[in-house]
Subunit: 243 residues, 2 copies
């Protein structure tokens, strides 16, 4: 695949998840357009981010062929697929602002709607503090909120049940013998997401139905964290739907 | 095992889940004491219950060796383990009323805290109507509520991620190659629950930690229902933690 023929894909967000997708997609031959709120500010940073990721300019130098731009410019550059790696609390607002650039395109959303810092009467202690509250939860989902806010965009909720390093390298767990899920209103969009997952190495992708099922996927965050802590932080694992 | 030496175990609730456990336990040689709110009323019913289960007196006639009694009498009869099959909305109240009968014993709780009939701005339609709301959810769990209400009882949340017919017959799915979870404050109580699960046929039981992790297990209800609907209602399935 030469660069002029490469499929253009956008990844919004420069955190660990966004980096995992951007690096994998570049390796697969995609022309990767990464979006960030303020590219100059992102490139000016010289310290690791709050999750300990190295400064983005340094990461970018190690990953040639990836373009950093604004959210809107990256989304506009995508041929078909935009991946949302913006944090859950800011996703609806940031995506609504660039809705026009994504009209008719597929938006794969993996954000967890964590509301950090919300006080709880009964906190769930973890080694890093407490589990953040989900908002929305159960009676709505971030996936649905995004779909309602961007009716001209084909939203697919996926990836969210896994660490993003495992999403892009599924065969590192059980030889890939575990399950990934897609949820959304548009069948073709879910097919496009499934093809991308197949390129990542997934062989079992289960279509859960409409975007309303994003509730189940987002609420899996609690069980995902509990399993991860039970196995030992950093132990890779997957969840296989046996049937 | 003769009847006089049999371990006495209590199952609270006469619905489909309670029946599955009672029948399995009787088959395993336990002396099974089933508890219900009003035994006379339960035995007087001649119509199927709202889930289509046959009248209890008829079921009981087909399952000799099972004793029906009040919640308190059944719980008091148990040597060590009481299984809570009371519906989520009524569990805390019904169990609090019989706390003394369970002091020092293990209570395995599999109830989902569904609040049926709660109106939602964004309902989740299903073939049977809508998904019921979870209450509590995310910032608390029914498992924790029960443990707080009954401090002298060793609460273990388990079974809840599965249909109870599969819980008692795990090998009907993937030869048993899927995962069951236990959560609770008391290590010996989780050991007792795990031994019961082993007798049921489970080979992979994962201890998630304290009772707070019941949140993850209860919130899995959404994904469990979504997977079940995606595979086709009634298709048995399990979830395996691949690691």
């Amino acid at each position: 695949m030469t660069n002029t023929q490469a499929t253009k894909i956008a990844v919004l967000g420069t955190g660990g998840g966004g980096r995992a997708h951007a690096a994998k997609l570049a390796g697969l031959g995609y022309e990767v357009h990464v979006g960030t709120r303020d590219p100059q500010a992102t490139l000016a940073r010289t310290e690791p981010d709050m999750m300990g990721n190295p400064p983005y300019q340094q990461w970018l130098a190690d990953h040639p062929g990836i373009t950093l731009n604004t959210f809107a410019e990256a989304a506009a550059a995508a041929d078909e697929i935009v991946i949302n790696g913006i944090d859950g609390a800011n996703s609806v607002q940031a995506l609504t602002a660039i809705a026009d650039a994504m009209a008719g395109k597929v938006l794969i959303d993996y954000a967890v709607p964590y509301l950090y810092g919300a006080e709880m009467e009964h906190p769930w202690p973890t080694p890093w503090g407490t589990m953040p509250k989900l908002d929305p939860c159960d009676t709505d989902s971030l996936g649905e909120q995004i779909q309602r806010a961007l009716p001209a965009v084909k939203v697919v909720k996926s990836f969210v049940t896994q660490e993003q390093e495992t999403v892009v390298n599924p065969k590192t767990v059980g030889g890939g013998e575990h399950t990934m899920f897609v949820a959304g209103e548009d069948t073709d969009a879910k097919k496009a997401a499934t093809e991308l997952l197949t390129a990542y190495g997934w062989s079992d992708v289960l279509d859960l139905g409409g975007i309303v099922t994003a509730r189940g996927l987002e609420m899996h965050a609690g069980m995902h964290s509990a399993i991860g802590l039970a196995l030992g932080l950093g132990t890779p694992f997957g969840v296989k739907v046996v049937r």
